[in-house]
């Protein structure tokens, strides 16, 4: 599909879905809910943003909301009905962590109906990262700067051509405007170009992060569990703003907290952060991680050792949001590079 047809396609999508696209604001990429007025103005703000890296807001926040009311005791609370959402331009570093959210909140004996309702009601359209930036390190986690699996559709944009690959759920994106699409083949210029750009992006990441971490990272991190001096030199740069944890696409810790109503209560599920002093404190006041250095170490041990045991993957996709947010410029790459 050509860029010229793109706005017609998006208009069609808007008739059926709530569509979110990346936009650039003050050099950062942010999610923006597309309005009909955004289209046809002549200036293409979407393509450049689609070709940038991930948005500042992690994609998990669309399904695993920062604040979500989950109960209205003693009344029943059901997930709200909403229009199906299309997220256009989900990067692989946001896509891979959703596997963990699906596992924790969407599988097993106890499922989170509020997460599931929004998850099932969302069409994830992945987009390549042709130009990785200095904060990116997905390659150190074994990820690629383009989607492998987990997306409902994959969009690649280059040289004025939009290439859309769809799965079962993503099929409705083409069905919304079938006339605008042409079937692509292996030899098509857009497909060839996509392959070249992907190779170049992988090479760029190798230049940004040439040194791989310790091949047995879980064991290397766990071995430092009690070595407070190792963590202290990094921890002392932290101002405890928790920006790293709020921006993380993988972290899923939450807290249920209650607010009184005239009769009964509202229970809200809010994101929590293991850096907070009260995180592990029990009712009587005892706290296994009262000192910050222990909480700092715990974050790394959780992400790079415990998580591997629990979920078979690291709690990090190399998106670099933690580093970008950090006032002390604590860089996971540097901390783990010492192991």
């Amino acid at each position: 599909m050509s860029t010229a047809s793109r706005d017609q396609w998006l208009s069609k999508l808007l008739e059926r879905f709530a569509v979110y696209v990346p936009v650039e604001r003050e050099k950062q990429v942010h999610w923006h809910r597309l309005e009909p007025a955004d289209l046809g103005s002549g200036a293409d703000t979407i393509t450049p943003a689609l070709r940038r890296i991930r948005a500042s807001e992690p994609v998990k926040s669309f399904m695993f909301n920062p604040r979500q009311q989950v109960s209205a005791f003693p009344d029943k609370l059901e997930p709200a009905e909403s229009k199906t959402r299309v997220l256009l331009g989900v990067k692989n570093c946001d896509l891979v962590p959703l596997k963990v959210h699906d596992e924790i909140l969407g599988e097993g004996e106890f499922k989170d109906p509020f997460y599931l309702a929004q998850r099932e009601n969302t069409i994830l359209v992945a987009a390549d990262c042709p130009v990785p930036e200095e904060s990116c390190f997905c390659n150190l986690l074994g990820l690629t700067p383009y989607a492998g699996e987990g997306a409902d559709a994959v969009l690649s944009v280059s040289d004025g051509e939009y290439l859309l690959e769809v799965g079962e759920k993503g099929r409705q994106l083409i069905d919304a405007a079938p006339d605008l699409f042409q079937k692509a083949g292996e030899g098509d210029a857009a497909v060839v170009k996509r392959g070249e750009e992907r190779k170049a992006a992988v090479a760029a990441l190798s230049r940004i992060n040439p040194k791989q971490w310790n091949p047995d990272l879980p064991a290397a991190v766990a071995a430092k569990r009690k070595d407070e001096s190792f963590w202290q030199k990094h921890a002392e740069k932290c101002v405890e703003c928790f920006g790293c944890l709020m921006g993380c696409p993988t972290c899923y810790c939450f807290l249920l907290y209650d607010q009184a109503r005239e009769k009964g209560l509202d229970r809200t599920r809010v994101w929590d952060a293991c850096y907070l002093a009260a995180y592990a404190r029990v009712g009587g006041g005892a706290n296994p991680r009262a000192e910050f250095v222990k909480r700092f170490a715990n974050r790394f041990i959780c992400k790079f050792s415990d998580f591997k045991t629990d979920h078979g993957m690291f709690a990090c996709s190399g998106c670099g949001r933690c580093f970008k947010a950090c006032m002390g410029k604590i860089d996971i790459r540097k901390v783990l590079g010492e192991l």
Binding site: V70, S71, F73, P74, K76, L77, I104, L105, G108, E109, F110, K111, D112, P113, L116, R225, K226, Y252, C253, F254, L255, L256, Y257, D258, Q259, A260, R261, G264, L265, R267, R269, D272, C274, Y279, A280, R281, V282, G283, G284, G285, A286, N287, P288, C302, D306, T309, D310
Partner: protein, 271 residues
Amino acid sequence: MNNPYEAIPATILKTMDETPNIRTFVLKPEQEIPFLAGQFVELTVPGFGEAPFTPSSSHFKRDTFEMTIMKVGRATGALFDLAPGDTVGVRGPFGNPYPLEKFAGKDIYIVGGGVGLAPLRALFLALTHEIDKYKHIYLRYGARTPNDIVYRHLLPEWEKLPKVDIDLSVDVSDDKWMKKVGVVTCLMDEIPCDEKTSIAVVCGPPIMMKFVNQRLLDVGFQGDNIYLSMETNMSCGVGQCRHCRLGPYLTCKDGPVLTWAQIKDIENPFV
């Protein structure tokens, strides 16, 4: 789909003061909570929050159930202001029950400290309900002073039960105290059962658990026969929120009772 965060309303039928800061609440939930001894529930004090507690009554009677709770913080403070007729919320049961099938045919050596006797009472009642399945039940219980002993009115009844042996201690005695004085390990100088094969079950304050566990190991109890109630901060209760993580476990899902064999490699598990 069931909402795991939604509590079932429960009416407080009765309260009984056990000690100056420990109270037993008799609750009648709108729907039966199908708990087994050792499993816990999340108790909502409307407007003040939620906290995990283990029912202390027998799982053979569940239309009402009891919980014995110590006043320590915000939620328990508000709970103590409630009276019979008031409504609370209950979610659960969560976690694993005591594996009674593994206890069959064995001596059970139970050690409790302070309010830690509350969850052990549910176990004790489950065991004595089917006493023929077990060899002997030994209950060793320590409290700070005679006034801090919970279930004072029940203990004389329990002592009369067949195949039950109970001994008590207090850290600080008064004029009327006729039994041992000292921390609960002073009741463990002589272990009346076979250490190699018996089951030990421990619940109490962390420092007490640490020393009782050490004593059990010293006399020859096997790590996988020592059952310890682990205290961690729990929020969701259903293995999602990650607050209660202890070593490789989520206490709410893998516990709340874990064996020493499971936790022995965890740095400082009794905090």
